[in-house]
Symmetry: C2
Subunit: 769 residues, 2 copies
């Protein structure tokens, strides 16, 4: 068992690690050559451009201004400086609310830590159970509930504290839910006009032998929403087009590359080979060749576009239907259209960039079958994932390899390589699986048939959380594979299971402290360093980048990655709540994690991550639900622990806690969740009326005409625009000279964007109501 | 253990019992004096009137026409004669669909019985496990799964049959759900204009300091549904008025009585005393006294009405809001109105007669608290109801009575009385509790805050089913109070519990066969005899009835009583499904039950029961869900049973069954349930358009003006109408002479009601689509 000293050593190592990461980050971010790695968000916003265009050659790559190194932790206050309304404008409501989860952690655990250290620690400390038992124990155990003798009256303290912690957590959760719901509603209300406010996604349009789908949709809505229907857009199946556009894109890149080459060295016309990968075939003039190929492809693309638009079979039975007013759209999205609840299904249209086009055509019955398959597959993935890995591991042993590839035997038999294979290979299979896991879960969610990227991420998050809960939390406690746990669970009686966990929980405290330091401290500090994107960017820059546009593409801003980051973060809520009453010594480590992570991710959200969609914090019900689940798990664990401590008189009081918590959750659900899946008519009417007064002659139909066109068609159009030489103006409206430091966004935005002060004012308004 | 002989004796007794009941019914129903007991439905419809008005004196009471006795089973074909569309018109869709539950039982269990007897019985019979084990066994056990040796390959048969039974049940359930959903939609669509089609119930109107509730409601809907809002009615708190109207009613009864008396014997003015219960006080002229009292009360009632209508405090924050079109109402009922999902809650208005007025004013937070309280209370009621009863029983023992009332000692010590107390009293406490149980559950549901009688009955049904499941089904199997079961369940491992039940199930077959015969055969035959209403009617007739109106009131048609009858009926589905694979010998008993009950209840629905509300079969999702629950229980029980039989290789196949069943249930939910809680816009639009074409000048506002007035105000108005002598014409539009036999409704209705042939035509239409 680890002593305080061991923990201290571990802490020192991890703090040093984290410090090293932060220091490396502070130095690397100042180098102009890394600018696109550490500030891609500003590039995407068009506020910053490559520093290569100005100054001396060396300055392009290394920052020689030594004063900037002195302020190497300047990013920390800078990250905190941007006020929330501005952050919402800069990075979207999703990001701003995501950061609030870390704040929520601080809000929950700071008071709980104080209380636990002020009351529980002395109560635990002033016993000598562990000493009298003459077992091996550490100082941490002396601070924990293990130090209290069986049947002691002191357990009342833990009971009362469990109640206080639960009430505090629920109170904070309630306030936060209220706040997020009002932020969401305010965001939706104060937002400028967006196509998805007027649009409803209609799926499962039943086939009709006499009418095409577009006629059918138009007639249906003209009849059933006569006063509100405005227009609609059918959805095309554009897989083939998508491939052609990709090919054309790559050719255009090559053309750009050769043109650049030619410009730099006009004396020699560049040539290329037409065969496989440019390695064989006839040698031709590259610029001519690619220009003619692109012309040919352009024509084909246009033909394919026409073919798709003319062929009724390439229309899938779904459509985006737009209404004259937000009121009309709100009505249509929330009501049932026909007798058959599996046809003409309506729901709010996601943002155009949020639509996952591949899933729009799945019929209703198939959807339910897919859900069943995914549920069963996920169950097996969670509980039996060790089986295939064990199989791979058994294949990857020395004897196996020697047998299948005997000529490698002398190499393998080398002591170093042998120990490497034996020590490393079995782990690698597991590691690869864990790295692939989020992708696998995302594929499962896609197979399930969700129609927006945001909902895909949300379901992936809930799947990943379940996986982590079973395999990391329970797996560490019961030590054994999930399958063995399942077996234990089935063969143990219902009240035995919490006991098994309850007994193991205090013993695992030191393990989880180490876990928090490694994953939570050093891991988060590693996140800000962005080692992987840094390396990949420079590799690409060195080997692949031909044009400025390629450099644009080599830049990988990444995104928050809600599907994987939120479940990992939830684990800390779980640990904190479970250990709050059992081993309060663990709480400060969690506080450090939440504080550091808040800083780091706020910085990343401002400077790095790209916002892929805006769901207006639609994920909050999931976040709330998972914290509630953690709370209930902590209560059940305490119940099990106390029942082994012969404190049976406390059981009825503890049983009431989960009941109350579940009730609280249900209340919150009915109180706040409608804000996340419905759109109140009053709000819609208010916005409609306002808009009518402000812009009575608005051409809404023109505005909505091409909002929900398939991205492929858009891309085709964009490239056509490029041909006319307008590309540059369209994509990057303003070009500013590079700024070597973190931009001070507050000042900048405050002075240039009139919309922000407007939001600020409204923000004041709604916080006062 | 009961042998075949024992079962035979029991069957003979129960069949004789049932026969006796049916014979008694056949004779009693022919007596004119019992006419109001056995044919009240026809009285309520105004088609039949008291037979006392015509014929000789004796004929009023006894039927002397001996030929009618010869056809004493004539009611059976008569009950089957009325076709379903006519039944819907006669007794409402609720009753017609309720009868379909019995038919559903036949549809599920007839093929299952054939298969089980053709395949399972031979497979079970051709073993000699029980003989070789040399245990005591009966012939029934030889037919059951107990006769198959451990680890036998024959269990594959049971596995395959479990699959076939599950698929068949699901198929029948699916078809039935489809049919009921389409019946409901058709009923709602083909119905004539009803106020609730245009009306939405709005609750939780937030208080406003500047506006009264009626102004607030009007303004809100004028703003947010400008094109559709028509009118609204606020809801008054009319408790005091209700009391006064009741008092006035009783006085009017007395006045009628004395006037009748005076008419019969004009020489003597009747007198009465004004004091307590008419026993003391001054003697006055009765007619004068009551006339003046009624006048006084009438004035007070009018004053109270005015006071309520003028006092803004007597308006509760709820209103019935009516719209110009069904489309507008459908939209408002299905959408959220404001940001705050706990204010301006809208839902479809129940029928006016279906409204439960007392619950309209409960605020949102209180509702959720009430739900928590009821959930906890119901849990304790189900699992701990034996504790207070045991306490009462312990009080009611001989020593306790002797101690508390010592002077009774000599009486109690009499052997006969002593044995009576000891044998009977403890049982009586339990019996009283069981009789009161539905009332208790209904009170709980009322406390929970449902706003319509139909939803009250539905939740009562689901509570009662849970109670029966735990205390009758599990209670009979594990023998012991529910609390002991709970204890067993907590202390047993998860896979141990199905085993315990699985082992006990085959042994309890004979018990359940007896139960089915007593409760299902004799009980149902007793239902048609209506012994309780018969006795109560004649007692009232003899002692209380003063006027014809009183006789009207003494008649108690009762109703189907969905809240209690459906859960009891569900128990047979449970038994049938559980025993289908285990002891097929039980199935024929269930078939007899379903057949007999279908006959009896069809007769009762046609001739007896009064329809209290029309919910258009809104209860079907509950019925479907409970049968699914029974199916899953049967699968789990079989799983447990087979796992004790060392047939472990079958377990994975059996585990798939409940998973598939749950998936099927979810599919049905999404496929059909919207038909039960939403109203498709297409249908609404169709009806609106049709109506506009047919009656362009309809005064809808006038039609809806007083539809949702509190029943008390209506009653006040009715009595005012009576004063003007229009009462008779209003209530009983047609009077026909009594018909001694069961009316042959087919002919009668078919010829007189034009609306019926219309329905029949539409019925054909929708069955062909």
């Amino acid at each position: 068992m680890a002593t305080l000293g061991d923990i201290g050593v571990s802490a020192a190592i991890n703090i040093l690690c984290a410090m090293a990461f932060l220091l490396a980050f502070a130095i690397l971010r100042l180098q102009p050559i890394n600018d696109r790695v550490y500030f891609p968000k500003w590039y995407l916003k068009g506020v910053r451009s490559s520093p290569t265009s100005s100054g001396a050659f060396v300055r392009k790559f290394v920052n020689l201004d030594y004063t900037s190194y002195l302020r190497f932790l300047a990013w920390m206050p800078a990250a905190l400086k941007m006020p929330e309304p501005e952050l919402i404008d800069h990075a979207g409501l999703d990001s701003a609310v995501y950061l609030r989860i870390y704040l929520l952690g601080l809000k929950i655990f700071v008071p709980i830590s104080f209380l636990a250290f002020a009351i529980l620690v002395p109560v635990n400390w002033t016993n000598d159970t562990l000493e009298s038992l003459k077992v091996e124990y550490s100082e941490i155990d002396k601070l924990s509930i293990s130090n209290i003798p069986k049947g002691s009256e002191r357990f009342w303290t833990h009971l009362v504290m469990a109640y206080i912690f639960t009430f505090w957590t629920c109170y904070v959760l309630f306030r936060e839910y209220q706040r997020v719901a009002s932020m969401r509603l305010h965001f939706l209300a104060s937002e400028r006009r967006r196509p998805d406010q007027f649009t409803v996604l209609v799926r499962n349009v039943p086939p009709d032998p006499d009418e095409s789908i577009t006629e059918l949709v138009e007639h249906f809505f003209l009849v059933n929403h006569p006063d509100h229907y405005l227009t609609h857009q059918v959805v095309y199946d554009a897989n083939k087009l998508s491939k052609m556009v990709k090919k054309k894109k790559s050719m255009r890149n090559w053309l750009d590359y050769y043109q650049l080459k030619n410009e730099r060295n006009p004396s020699k016309r560049p040539t290329c080979k037409t065969g496989f990968l440019g390695l064989c075939g006839d040698k031709v003039d590259a610029i001519q060749y690619y220009t003619s190929e692109i012309d040919k492809l352009s024509k084909e693309v246009v033909e394919e576009c026409d073919r798709i638009k003319k062929n009724p079979k390439s229309v899938i039975p779904a459509a985006f239907v737009s209404f004259r007013t937000r009121w009309g759209a709100a009505v249509c999205a929330q009501t049932q259209q026909t007798r058959n609840p599996t046809a003409w299904l309506t729901e709010w249209a996601p943002e155009p960039r949020d639509v996952y086009w591949n899933n729009l055509a799945i019929p209703f019955v198939q959807l339910t079958v897919r859900r069943l398959i995914v549920a069963v597959a996920f169950f097996f993935l969670t509980f039996f994932f060790m089986i295939p890995i064990a199989f791979v591991q058994s294949l990857a042993n020395i004897e196996g390899i020697e047998k299948s590839v005997p000529f490698l035997k002398p190499v393998i038999e080398t002591p170093f390589i042998k120990s490497f294979i034996q020590g490393f290979l079995p782990g690698i299979a597991l590691k690869i699986f864990l790295i692939l896991l989020p992708t696998i879960l995302m594929l499962m969610s896609k197979f399930e048939g969700f129609v927006s990227l945001s909902s895909l991420e949300r379901t992936t998050a809930s799947k990943y959380y379940l996986f982590l809960l079973v395999n990391v939390f329970l797996g560490s406690i019961i030590t054994g594979t999930a399958f063995q746990q399942l077996n234990t669970f089935i063969h143990q009686s219902v009240n035995e299971f919490p006991r098994t966990i309850g007994v193991a929980i205090p013993m695992k405290a030191t393990f989880f402290i180490t876990y928090i330091m490694v994953d939570g401290w050093a891991g988060v500090a590693g996140e800000i360093l962005r080692l992987k994107p840094l390396i990949i960017y420079h590799l690409k820059n060195f080997f692949l980048v031909k044009t400025e546009k390629d450099r644009e593409k080599a830049m990988d801003p990444g995104s928050i990655g809600f599907g994987t980051s939120e479940p990992q973060l939830q684990l800390y809520f779980l640990l904190g709540l479970v250990y709050a009453t059992v081993t309060p010594f663990l709480l400060p480590y969690i506080l450090v994690f939440f504080g550091l992570a808040y800083l780091v991710f706020r910085h990343q959200v401002i400077n790095v991550y790209n916002q892929e969609y805006e769901s207006a914090a639609a994920f909050w019900p999931g976040v709330h639900g998972r914290i509630i689940a953690a709370l209930i798990i902590s209560q059940v664990v305490l119940l099990g622990l106390l029942s082994t401590k012969k404190a049976a008189q406390l059981t009825p009081f503890l049983v009431a806690l989960p009941v109350l918590t579940i009730w609280f959750d249900r209340y919150c659900k009915s109180r706040f969740e409608p804000a996340f899946n419905k759109y109140p008519l009053q709000e819609a009417m208010m916005k409609d009326t306002l808009e009518l007064a402000r812009e009575p002659n608005l051409d809404l139909k023109g505005y909505l005409l091409n909002a929900y066109i398939h991205p492929m068609f858009k891309e085709v159009k964009d490239y056509d625009t490029v041909d006319e030489g307008e590309f540059e103006n369209v994509l990057v409206p303003t070009k500013r000279s590079s700024r070597q430091n973190t931009p001070e966004p507050s000042k900048y935005n405050g002075s240039t964007s009139p919309s922000l002060s407007h939001i600020g004012r409204e923000q004041q308004l709604y916080s006062s109501t």
